[in-house]
Each structure stands twice: as C-alpha cells, then as structure tokens.
C-alpha cells in the first residue's frame, strides 16, 4: 500500500474534464485506489463519488493505492494532477 500527499493547485480542482481524465487513468490500474481528504474517502475509479466529493483548488488530499501496480498507479496519477496545474486557470 502506498500513500502520497498532494495539494490540488489547478483552478478547477477535480471537476469537469480533470475529474474524467483522472478516473479514466485510475481505472486502467488493477490496484484499489482511493482519494482521501480529511476523514473522507472516495474511490478514484468512481466519477460520481469524486464529483460528489467536491474536490477543489487548495484541498490537501492523499492518494492511496493498494495492489500489484500500486507504484505505477501513484506515479501516473501524480503526474496527471501536476499536468492539470499547468494547463488550467486563466485570468
């Protein structure tokens, strides 16, 4: 089981297109993957759960993966979240 702490920095948090991309990517891994914020926990492969979590910019989250490909899963998801920061937000 691996955990990684992150802060969501992109303007739309885990909403809209970012959420879809995140779930799609998470679903390609065999490991069980969770997104945690405080005491709450959501299945990273469930778009409805993630959306209902209302994860937004500034939220401190923990990514948790448990399974044979847990390392690749965390790596890939972290990379994706960082790429959102660069594309997102406008003034």
């Amino acid at each position: 089981m691996i955990e990684k702490r992150m802060t969501l920095r992109n303007a739309s948090g885990l909403h809209a297109r970012p959420a879809s991309e995140f779930v799609k990517l998470a679903s390609t891994f065999a490991s069980d993957i969770r997104v945690l914020r405080g005491a709450d926990e959501w299945n990273a492969k469930s778009i409805l759960s993630l959306l209902s979590g209302g994860l937004s910019a500034g939220d401190d989250i923990v990514l948790r993966a448990d399974g044979d490909d847990e390392e690749q899963a965390i790596d890939a998801l972290v990379k994706l979240l960082i790429s959102f920061e660069e594309q997102d937000g406008s003034l």
Binding site: T7, R9, A11, H15, A16, R17, S20, V23, K24, S27, N43, K45, S46, I47, L48, S49, L51, S52, G54, A57, E85, E86, Q87, D88, G89, S90, L91
Partner: protein
C-alpha cells in the same frame, strides 16, 4: 385566456432569435413503483444486460454527435458512459436488488435519486448540471430495461419552439435542427449540457421562464431571444416582423463574418494591419486559431503566478510559452511579463498592503525589485523565442530608466544561458506597454530604446481621466472617446512612427467599431482584442479607408466632448457597419 403580448425575462442559454409555435415536449412518466422480486440474481443479470445495451446506445450517440457537431460536444456522452461504468453506482444498485429483493427499475431509480439529491444540494452550478446527467442515465436505463431504446423522435411541426421542463443531452442532440426554431426550459442553467449542445447546434435557447410555462399552450406563438435571455408569448404581428428582421440580419452577419476567415486584414486603400488576440491561458489558443487571428498581441502571464503557494519555475513557464508559440505556427506572440502586485496579489511574496494599489509598486516596478521572480520569466521567454515569432513586452513602463534596468536583466539572463549552453533567441524583440500619460509624453525617448509600443487603453484611460472604471460612481467618466485620450493615442502613434517602430493597441478600444476606422486613419499598426471580436474587426478594416484628409483627425480632436466625438465619427468616419450588430 388573454392573448396579450407578454415579454418574459429569463436566462439566455444559447444566443439567437427563434420565432415559432409552442410545442410541449412531454417528459415520460418516470415514477417507478417499488416492486419486490423473487429471483434477485436474475434481476441483477437483467440490470447488467441493460447497462451493456445502454452503453452501446450511448456509444452510438457519441459517434453521431461527433460527426454532426464536434468532438468537444460528443465528450458529454463520453461522460455519460463513464457514469454508467461507475463501479460505485452499479454496486449500489446491485446491492439494493440483493438486500431488498426489489426490481432492477426500482433499484436504479432510487440509487439515481440519491446521487441527484446529493448533487442538487451542493451550491455549485457544475454539480447541479451533473444531476441532469444522472437523470438522463437513469431514464435511459429504465427505458432499456423496459425494452425501449432512444426516445422516439417525436414528429415535430415546423418552426417548433420546444417547451420542456428540462432537456436531456440525448434529446438535444437528436433534435431536428431544421424544425426546431428555439428551446425554452424551465430549469437547467447555462452551463448544462443541453445548453452547450443547443449553442453548438445554433438553436436559440432560454431557461428559467416559469411564467411562460404557466401560460403557454400548444400552438401559441412564441419568440425566443437567446441573447437577451427573454421570451415573448403571443407577440403582436409588428413584434414578429421586427424580430424576424433581426434574425435575418444576424444570420447574414454570421455568414459574412465566417467568410472573412483567411482573408487579409487590409483596408480598402491597401493599409495592412494585424488583428490579434488578447489571451490569458493556453486554453484560449483554440479560439485564436478558430477565429483566424493574425497573432496574439497580448499574452497575460499572471495565471502562471497567481493562486498558488510558490512561483512557477522557469521550466514550467518555458513549457507554456513554447506551447503557445508552436500553436501559433509562425504568427506573432507577444508575451507580457508579470503584471501583478497592487490589486493582483501574489501570496508568496508577502508584500506590504498599499492604500492605493493602482498607483503602487506593481508590474515592471515589482519585477525590477524581484529579480528572483523576473529573471526566470525572462529566461523562459528567451528560450521559447526559438519556437516561433515571440516578442517580449514590459507593462507600466513610465521612463527610459526602467527600460534600461529591464534590459540589464535581459542581458544577464542571456549571458547566463549562453554560459550554461542553453539555446535561446538572441535578438528577441523587446517592447513596452504605453499606459500612463507620462509614457505618452515621454514616448520619443522611449521609442529610441524599444522595438515596439503597445498602447494599453484600459489603464491609460483611467490614469488620464483620473477615474476608476470599477467604481460605480465614476464609471460613466471612463470613455475612450475623451478628446484627451484620443489625443494621447495619436501622439503615441506619431512618436513610434518617427522612430520607425511598430505600434499596436491592446485595450478594449481595439475592438470598438466606431474607433477602428479612426485608429486606422491615425496609422495604428495592430489591434489586439478578445478573440470573439476579430472577424468583426476585420470586416470593418476591409471596409474602411486608412488614408484620410490631414485635418480630419484634428477636427475630431477639436470636438468638446466624448459624445460629440462619437457623433463626429458616425458622420465623418463611417465604415460599412450596417451588417454588423452594434456595440455601445
């Protein structure tokens, strides 16, 4: 029932005018009775078979939408399929069937209702719109379970104005756009998928018109004004004629504007200008290319620096600038260095609060004080300079000394990069924004030290007229037509040309239909504006003459008031603007 004309205010979802007769789009009876079953296992099998069928149906809709409209809009159905595949959603339904021995229909409906209630409870337009998606999926699953697929495309009368409580995306996309003149929904906000699809299909749409729903019957005459966000019930014949006229003119304008893509931005008498876009992020670039802009006259870089807890690295910035330059494929890209501080806070800098942020230590002043912030940006821009026609622009420059200091930093960045063996554009053009009266009056000296000017009228007007555009009490003093403002613009253009450098304008005035011909006559070389105004501006440029009698501008500037100048422009510097929708 009174047939008096009623003008009803609502919320616009998709622009345009539709004139037609009311057609009440029936929603299906979706209340599912709770029914228990004996064989929960085969009920679960039923459910999963329905999911697979529904998934195939959505896939077909996805393809259809991609072809009829586009990939972005088709993504809506991609999202629906993801929801259908959602493991929590299906395990909740499966669990309910198993535990309560209820029918698949009931399990689907009650589980969907839970999510819908959850999304509608959160104060977020986006999530409220997602509730509509869940409703659509649930309805689809129920139809599939009962053996029906797509909602039967109802045979619509011609010129139908659809009235529906809510329009699901799958209904919107299958609408016969030839027969549907407009859409009115009772709920479903402007960010709903239905609104997005209506916009892409070019069907005028409005929402939130509950007064209409209370009073309209089948066949009633209705006008939908999607841009104004209004509907008119029982319009009088005169009203109908007026709106049909406006609709015709709007369609004509749209066709004409589209035909301007790929046409050069050249006046009737051969003056060639650049019509460029102002952008604030990479995502704006699609629209820039879509609207055939001649380039980007202002790339605001603040988005990279704000709303984060540490500044962007040189590498992060380089990626963004390079991507922009590549997307533009040879068209000019003017990158403005950080224009923050003052009212645009940078949390990681810990700057002291200022009483008067507009007159404070911001923009170039901030950058010159913080080389730790300035130099990485300069390095990133210099490196990105190899990826296209990139130019650097400094904001709020007031005096030649600031240009010299900035150039020292640029030279330092260059020599560092050279020493580190990193490639960059040696002769990257460096220009400045002219935004203060001091800069205008000092323009001759400034012009000798830079490669181009860009007149920032938004701030120039505020500083010159000493009024705050954001202050409701002084807002009416803010106008680009003030003789002093136009006089300063003229002076700046003249100074630039005396020194042989290019001068552009990147404030809202650049897209002002009355001003464009006058600015053209003053010799402005480029106009940078929001992307949606570019084709209109091109229309005006192509229908204007740039060479005017010498004293025309003198006579304009001699007018005593801003409104006198507007009248003067209407009379003496017309362009063929009739076909375009006018802006105030």
């Amino acid at each position: 029932m009174s047939k008096k004309e009623r003008y009803i205010n609502a919320v616009g979802m998709s622009p345009g005018i539709g004139v037609g007769t009311a057609y009440l789009f029936r929603q299906e009876e979706q209340t599912v009775q709770r029914r228990t079953v004996r064989d929960a296992d085969s009920e679960i099998v039923r459910f999963y078979e329905a999911v697979q069928q529904a998934s195939r149906d959505i896939e077909a809709l996805y393809e259809q939408t991609k072809q009829r409209i586009g990939a972005d809009e088709a993504a809506i159905f991609e999202a629906h399929r993801m929801m259908l595949d959602d493991p929590e959603f299906s395990s909740a339904i499966e669990g309910r069937i198993l535990e309560e021995s209820v029918s698949a229909e009931y399990a689907v409906q009650s589980t969907a209702d839970q999510y819908i209630a959850l999304f509608e409870r959160i104060e977020d337009d986006y999530l409220k719109a997602r509730a509509a998606d869940v409703r659509d999926i649930a309805a689809r699953l129920l139809r599939t379970l009962s053996g029906r697929g797509e909602r039967i495309s109802e045979a619509l009368p011609e010129r139908a104005i659809l009235l529906a409580e809510e329009l699901a995306p799958s209904d919107t996309v299958t609408l016969d756009r030839e027969r549907v003149a407009g859409i009115v929904t009772e709920r479903g906000g402007p960010t709903s998928h239905a609104a997005i699809l209506a916009k892409s299909l070019g069907i005028p749409a409005v929402t939130g018109a509950s007064e209409l729903f209370a009073n309209a019957r089948y066949g009633d005459e209705i006008i939908v004004d999607g841009s104004a966000g209004a509907v008119i019930l029982h319009p009088a014949p005169g009203t109908v004629a007026t709106y049909e006229d406006r609709r015709e003119r709007q369609h004509r304008t749209q066709r004409e504007l589209l035909s301007l893509k790929g046409q050069p931005s050249v006046s009737l008498d051969g003056c060639s200008v650049l019509l460029c876009a102002n952008i604030g992020s990479l995502t704006d670039l699609d629209a820039v290319l879509e609207n055939d802009a001649d380039g980007v006259g202002l790339f605001r870089t603040e988005f990279l620096f704000m709303e984060r807890d540490r500044p962007p690295t040189e590498a992060e910035q380089f990626e963004v600038y390079r991507a922009a330059a590549e997307a533009l494929d040879g068209k000019p890209l003017i990158i403005r260095t950080l224009d923050a501080g003052g009212d645009k806070a940078l949390p990681y800098l810990d700057l002291p609060p200022e009483d008067n942020p507009f007159l404070g230590r911001r923009a170039i002043r901030l950058c010159l004080d913080h080389p730790d912030l300035f130099i990485p940006q300069l390095r990133a821009i210099l490196r990105a300079g190899l990826a296209g026609d990139v130019r650097l622009m400094l904001p709020l420059v007031n005096v030649v000394g600031e240009v010299h200091r900035a150039k020292e930093f640029i030279e330092q960045a260059k020599s560092d990069l050279r020493r580190e063996g990193i490639d960059f554009k040696e002769d990257l053009p460096v220009g400045i924004m002219i935004e203060t009266p001091a800069a205008v009056l000092h323009a001759d000296a400034l012009a000798k030290n830079v490669d181009f000017f860009s007149i920032g009228t938004n701030d120039l007007i505020q500083y010159t007229l000493a009024c705050d555009r954001g202050n409701a009490d002084t807002a009416e003093l803010y106008t680009p037509y003030h003789p002093a403002v136009l006089s300063l613009i003229r002076t700046t253009i003249a100074s630039a040309h005396r020194a042989g450098i290019h001068v552009g304008l990147c404030g809202e005035a650049a897209s002002d239909e009355r001003l464009i011909p006058a600015l053209l006559a003053m010799g402005l070389d480029s106009f940078s504006m929001n992307t949606s105004s570019i084709l209109k501006a091109r229309y005006i440029v192509r229908n204007s003459t740039c060479h005017r009698s010498d004293d025309l501008i003198d006579r304009m500037l001699a007018q005593p008031t801003a409104s006198a100048i507007q009248t003067f422009l209407n009379r003496h510097v017309p362009s063929n603007r009739d076909a375009t929708t006018s802006t105030p």
